[in-house]
């Protein structure tokens, strides 16, 4: 028998063999581990070789960045005509908001960033005051965007573009989370009326397409409401979008609530904690943490669904884009328009997704039973 290198109990920790670590080992293990794998690697490289240069060519190298019309672009270069986006950029951003008042949107956006910072980042300096400001922000932003009290009033049909997307998206996100939590708790309630109401609310709003809700908001409400009462179309859309997202949110959170072991509820009960205290301090923090991926999923879905408002005549970025394409100067540039809008949505949604990963990591106390 071979002589053991160390006596029992004296074996030191040794490094792993050198051919199992480092970049070469990684390539071997991940790209070239089997004949199929080698074929797939070669195919992927060929595919990228075909795609990337052509895309770069179209988007940058052979693209026209200046010009007064599509024909001018075409005369300069064979690729994308970004001059179109450049000329319409303000329209894409602000919709038909009066040009002199656009600083109000810029200011609201800056304040939004200031308000989000303490909400999203728990080590933000002066966080407490930041959170107060975040609570006040919706009113400040509403005042800035709508006017009144010293500012020129602006009608909501002049809202449009990315600004409209942000208004609907952020309002929906902010209100759907708390409403969703209440509905999820209501669905588990011992009180019959609360439970039945929650279930029917959720099932109704989940069971109908958002488009029909938007139609109801834009046309049918007029039949139901007493004649003479009008309230703003955008406000109705906001309410519908929020309720729609809340129903989804409630189900996501219910999943989190059910994933908690019964013992957590029992431990809280056995200590004599009141219902709302134990929900707030023990159950919801854990349930929401479990639900983060689903919650963010719902947020992203809601955010992208804002493009549906085009159907009832609100001019979101796609609406602005399509009306711009109708201009004879720029006709036929739909690739550029859709790509531009897609990039905007991608950046926002990718940001949300990354933030949720960061949050999950931060909240992992890592060691759930």
């Amino acid at each position: 028998m071979e002589q053991a290198a160390y006596k029992p109990g004296e074996h030191p920790d040794l490094p792993p063999p050198s051919d199992t670590v480092g970049p070469i080992a990684w390539v071997r293990a991940n790209l070239l581990s089997s004949p199929t794998n080698i074929v797939l690697t070669v195919l992927s490289i060929w595919f990228l070789y075909e795609i990337i240069p052509a895309t770069l060519d179209w988007a940058f190298l052979d693209a026209a960045f200046t010009g007064e019309s599509r024909d001018e672009c075409r005369a300069k270069a064979g690729g994308a005509c970004w001059a179109f986006i450049g000329e319409r950029f303000n329209l894409f951003t602000y919709g038909f908001y009066p040009a002199d008042e656009r600083w109000r949107i810029d200011l609201a956006f800056v304040l939004l960033c200031v308000a989000l910072l303490p909400v999203l980042w728990d080590r933000c300096p002066l966080r407490k005051y930041g959170l107060y400001f975040a609570c006040a922000f919706p009113f400040v932003a509403g005042w800035l965007l709508l006017g009144g009290f010293g500012l020129t009033p602006v009608d909501t049909d002049e809202f449009g573009g990315f600004m409209l997307t942000l208004v609907i998206g952020i309002t929906g996100i902010t209100f759907s989370l708390p409403i969703g939590i209440i509905l999820a708790l209501g669905r588990q309630s011992d009180m019959l009326i609360v439970r039945v109401f929650s279930i029917w609310f959720i099932e109704f709003f989940r069971g109908v397409p958002l488009i029909t809700l938007l139609f109801v908001a834009s046309t049918m409400l007029n039949y139901f409401l007493p004649t003479g009462t009008t309230f703003d179309l955008l406000l109705r859309v906001l309410i519908m979008v929020t309720l729609f997202a809340s129903a989804y949110m409630a189900e996501v959170i219910r999943g989190g609530l059910q994933a908690l072991p019964r013992g957590q509820y029992e431990a809280a009960d056995s200590m004599g904690l009141k219902y709302w205290t134990s929900m707030r301090l023990i159950i919801l923090p854990q349930a929401l943490k479990i639900s983060i991926p689903g919650i963010v999923n719902t947020f992203i879905g809601l955010y992208k669904d804002t493009t549906l408002v085009i159907i009832i005549g609100l001019l979101d970025p796609l609406g602005v884009g399509r009306s711009s394409l109708a201009d004879t100067k720029w006709t036929g540039l739909s690739n550029e328009m859709y790509l531009f809008v897609a990039i905007f949505f991608f950046i926002s949604c990718f940001g949300m997704s990354r933030y949720s990963l960061y949050l999950e990591k931060k909240l992992a106390t890592g060691h759930e039973r």
Partner: protein, 258 residues
């Protein structure tokens, strides 16, 4: 109250903390607890044993109303358990409970686990609650883990935190629901040691456990349950040496000779 005390309480001077009279409980049609009568004196240590499914956990869970009973009465420290939430909350403040699976709150540190109820139920100021918590963590010998999360501790340490967490509410009665059943063998002792110490300082304890060694050293009374009934109760010495009932004999022979 003394006249209702059952015969094992031969000293009428002693204060009765828990009175259970003609208590029945059903799960749907299933009759889990049948005609339970039990008085617990202040400072008494009771061990409840019996085969699985005999209703012993359900019984102690009725005492802080984690389970509802349908007939009879349970009076804890002068408060009767009814549907009145006020009474339930009152009882739960005075009764601590330790679970088989610890049920620590994984998103809070050990210290926060211990201070949560004193701060929110007893409305103690945070500093005071933290001082008390550290005192009890010291007593269960893990003050150095105070700022860790439960998931970073071993099972035995978690259970000791759970005991400390209950003690922080300064309960008058402690309920233990199989506190060592989910532990690795080498960790059982550290938890039992804490429980023995607690018994020695005079805590009123009701303990569902299969640790017969613990029953012999600590218990004032051992209760044997089967199929929802209290079959037999006696001082540990008599209980183990001369069991009266056939079912008790069978049970003891099964758990002691393996």
């Amino acid at each position: 109250m003394n006249e209702t005390a059952d015969k094992s309480n031969d000293n009428p001077e002693k204060e009765i903390v828990i009175v259970i009279r003609k208590m029945h409980k059903w799960y749907g049609q299933f009759h889990v607890l049948k005609d339970i009568n039990l008085n617990v004196e202040r400072g008494e240590k009771i061990v409840i044993c019996g085969p699985s499914g005999s209703g012993k956990s359900t019984l102690i869970r009725c005492i802080n109303r984690l389970e509802e009973h349908q007939d009879g009465e349970i009076i804890v420290d002068g408060t009767e358990l009814t549907n009145d939430l006020k009474n339930v909350e009152l009882v739960r403040r005075e009764v601590g409970m330790v679970f088989q699976h610890f049920n620590l709150f994984p998103h809070l540190t050990v210290l926060d686990n211990c201070t949560l109820a004193p701060i929110w139920v007893r409305k103690e100021p945070r500093e005071e609650a933290e001082a008390t918590a550290m005192e009890y963590l010291e007593r269960v010998k893990i003050p150095d883990q105070a700022n860790k999360f439960p998931g970073q501790l071993s099972g035995g340490q978690q259970q000791r935190v759970a005991i400390a967490r209950s003690l922080c509410m300064k309960p008058r009665v402690m309920l233990f629901d199989e506190p060592t059943s989910a532990l690795d063998p080498e960790m059982i002792k550290e938890v039992l040691d804490v429980m023995i110490e607690l018994a020695n300082v005079g805590m009123t304890m009701l303990c569902v456990t299969h640790e017969m060694g613990f029953a012999k050293t600590v218990a004032d009374r051992v209760i044997f349950m089967d199929e929802g009934e209290i079959i037999e109760q006696n001082k540990p010495h008599d209980f183990f040496d001369s069991p009266q009932h056939d079912r008790t004999k069978l049970f003891l022979s099964q758990i002691l000779n393996h």
